[in-house]
Symmetry: C2
């Protein structure tokens, strides 16, 4: 069992347990059919009032210029390792509702639902996704003409995970570290906040 | 094929395609084992800096008072149909980072990742989840002693979907309506925002 396997306290589907965010990506492209299915999965996420307040900018290394342009929208600390990912994307959130221009409080949450679906579909296909909040939204707005009201919110590095040995030492350690999570008792509450439900 | 089946343009896993948000719930409890696995799935979602900025308040109708208390935190329009769901929950987001108190921009997005995992695990078990943004965060803060910095953000009605015939007419129509989504070309972009990637 890989060090990245979730140490489950209760059984869950492997499509969820097997997902993790690698720093090392293999020198292997993701097919267009796979990419279409990843975004199709995002498409069918739930959203408040079915607003679907998400969109994505996508670049593959088949177009080196496009890949470099998208890479330049990540913070420097992410550019190093993410450069090896054959596919890069930005997750964009649109804050006002289309129908009335009022703020959609659920918008970033619903981008999370869409990107979560994308990650799950990727996992079923043996593809890994490493999401980042460390991006440069203003640079992305300029480079991709993202209109007011919409905002580049996340970066996504997509590809096939590779052995950590290919990484510099600091990232290698992170990539090899076991995944850790709070136990259920620390975040599922019953009578009041902080009191375990189970 | 049910009217709620996703009309797929590209193949995706059934755990994602079969999810939808019903208004009608069957008179059937969800087992504690199933509930633990739903929240275990939420537990293993990705989050920025592994902050896990989500928590949940959970109530089942096995404790009618607790169920009624949670129901009272939904807006009136949701209370009608959600009362029939055997399990109700609030999704709570914690805005500042634990380690330094600074704002965690990703927090609502990451609650979305966690709740998306919960929905996917539910789908594999034949359980339906209907999420709502229409809740009363201030009432929830008071009733559950939710501390400053944390906020009830979503409601979740959890149970087994029932035929729409049990619903009042306005909800019956919504429950029977086919699911609709923007095509990929309207939200996956390449060279610039608004220009289809595929």
């Amino acid at each position: 069992m890989s060090a990245k396997a979730a140490q489950l306290d209760h059984p869950i589907a492997s499509v969820l347990a097997d997902r993790y965010s690698p720093y090392a990506f293999a020198d292997r492209d993701v097919s267009s059919d796979d990419l279409r299915s990843l975004f199709e999965a995002a498409r069918w996420a739930a959203s408040s009032y079915n607003e679907q307040p998400w969109s994505y900018i996508l670049a593959t290394r088949a177009d080196a210029e496009a890949h470099g342009k998208l890479l330049s929208c990540l913070v420097e600390g992410n550019q190093g390792w993410a450069a090896a990912a054959p596919v890069l994307a930005l997750g964009i959130v649109t804050h006002p509702f289309r129908r009335n221009g009022k703020p959609n409080k659920a918008a970033p949450h619903d981008l999370g639902l869409a990107s979560g679906n994308l990650c799950a579909e990727a996992t079923t296909r043996g593809i890994a996704v490493h999401q980042m909040i460390g991006i440069l939204p203003e640079r992305a707005a300029e480079l991709y003409a993202i209109p007011e009201g919409s905002e580049a919110f996340t970066g996504l590095a997509i590809g096939y995970a590779a052995p950590a040995e290919s990484l510099p030492e600091n990232l290698r350690e992170r990539d090899l570290a076991p995944r850790t999570r709070k136990p259920l008792g620390e975040f599922v509450f019953g009578t009041r906040f902080g009191e375990a439900a189970f």
